[in-house]
Symmetry: C2
Subunit: 333 residues, 2 copies
């Protein structure tokens, strides 16, 4: 029996996963290796030559018994992360996956190609280069903006954060454990897998973070009949309006959301103008697009990790309110 | 409203995740790299030196509103795989994660250290060697036993399988997409993370596959007060009875399950005797252990992927029947 006052259980119809995209590549000419595949086990000759799956993408879904709409929400994480960043926050609160399930949407969380359960391929045989590993300093000072340049220190007691930082800094180590290596040479494979996901799922809403933003904005361009709304949370890139016509998106609402402390940040000073340029092209083409800077709403201190900051549920509320206002299917229910 | 005849929805209290184990390592002396982190974006100098999280393990949980017991089932996958192998089968049937949730257990699915959402660390800076990538031939002929030695062919039409093979061979490519690279130099890190998981969760049942078997059998030895039952599905290794005393497990039921076509298989001829030796030591020490060879029950054709074979639900039924018979807490409900 449930306790009084507790939320009702989520009514779930299915939990499962699949892989989309990918292809078979054949490796040749590599030397045999001797391997011991379990502690204390015998040595065993392994031939690394042969066929491998490359470029596939893992997608996990949770389907509700009675969703508010048949259109699911696809959640695409950013660079150096996996779908885990939509789950529990570093300080243990329910994350946006749970939020949007409770809000009545079927949710599909994917791991980008080369990351998490999507696997990665050998380099230099398949990928052209070695991966990048995010350092604590890079996350703290640059992409995630927990503190200004020069504020990170190996001794937690000597780290300086923005005084109003909303990220749960006491659990910075938990955040670092969510990081995974990334490559910069796999954009075409990754875009192809995201496009394949939209083709497989059909009608969908896209919610992307950071590097996922560029892939999602492109996916909408390629399938404007299927993508019913686009929510780009601090996208680090966007389509080039000189090369893509935003007019095909005239019926696809777009929301761009930004946190705080972007001014003067080395990474974002380079990477934000592309997103702004695409937003302006969308508006000029008549696309219902909104550019939401949280500080302009009086909401200060958000980091790049909006889905983990202490007001993550408030931001999800804003997204859900925008979505239900902009998308006709919600007004029918 | 639900259709007549459909199963009732699963009543879910929480879905989330966390990382256990791991530590911070510092890289030094590596050259700066120039990186472009989004298609069309500007170049950006990246310093690979600094602190990284290493050795952590990702764990995703689904908690029921009213589980049959407060003791959850921890599902530990095998080598070159991730937790995805407990989810949907390659041919699209609900997998064992869903089965055991429907059977009334809270389920925790982890990705082993270095795999999936647990991330991996740089080599040779942190890991001593390069990873192994499973080839299609290796899976087909050796570890997973879909066909005998020499039966794999790059042309699907020319592949030969065991005539009674229960694996859904038409979806072999889907299976290959679930494969991830693995290392053989991280056993201590991996065992430490599994032990940390048991310490964090407390009372639990362990269900392990293949390489996960050895880690689970060791984890039970280290926490015989917390591990309430152990189910080892084709374990590829086991503790050495000359080095470990099985008597501490006297109150921990153990089930070993084996499929077909093990005789004459090169890999399993090397790797199965260690598990048998541990089973016999358990029995000699009075541990309630069972060694279940499915062919001896008249069930032929199972591959190494028992959780994906066409009778996967039947095997899960056998596991659940054994668990409820062997573990006192079920007879109390």
């Amino acid at each position: 029996m449930l306790d009084q006052g507790r939320p009702e259980p989520l009514q779930v119809k299915a939990i499962g996963s699949f892989h989309v995209g990918g292809e078979i590549r054949t490796l040749t000419g590599l030397p045999i290796r001797q391997r011991v595949s379990t502690p204390g086990g015998p040595a065993y000759a392994v031939d690394p030559n042969g066929e491998l799956a490359v470029g596939q993408m893992y997608v996990q879904y949770v389907r509700l018994a009675a969703p508010r709409t048949a259109v699911p929400l696809l959640m695409w994480h950013g660079g150096g992360m996996t779908g885990a960043n939509w789950e529990t926050t570093p300080d243990g609160r329910p994350g946006w996956q749970w939020y949007f399930l409770r809000a009545g949407l079927d949710v599909f969380v994917s791991d980008a190609v080369e990351r998490g359960r999507s696997s990665f391929a050998p380099y230099p045989q398949v990928y052209a280069e070695a991966p990048y590993y995010r350092t604590a300093r890079e996350a703290w000072e640059k992409t995630f903006r927990f503190g200004p340049a020069g504020s990170y220190h190996e001794d937690p007691a000597r780290r300086r954060a923005h005084p109003d930082c909303r990220f749960p800094l006491a659990d910075f180590d938990v955040f670092m454990k969510q990081s995974v290596p990334r490559w910069d040479c796999n954009d075409a494979l990754t875009q192809a897998a995201y496009d394949a996901l939209v083709a497989r799922v059909g009608d969908c809403f896209l919610l992307m973070h950071s590097q996922g933003g560029n892939f999602g904005l492109h996916a909408a361009l390629s399938a404007p009949d299927k993508v019913k709304a686009v929510i780009a949370v601090e996208p680090s890139g966007a389509p080039d309006p000189d090369r893509h016509d935003p007019a095909v998106l005239r019926h696809v609402p777009h929301l761009f959301i930004w946190g705080d402390h972007l001014e003067g940040n080395e990474f974002w000073t380079k990477y934000r103008p592309g997103a702004r340029r695409w937003y302006e092209a969308l508006v000029a083409a008549g696309v219902p697009a909104r550019w939401l800077e949280l500080p302009e709403q009086g909401i200060r201190g958000n980091s790049h990790a909006l889905m983990m900051d202490d007001n993550s549920d408030d931001i999800a509320d804003m997204i859900m309110a925008w979505l239900t206002r902009m998308v006709p299917m919600f007004s029918k229910t």
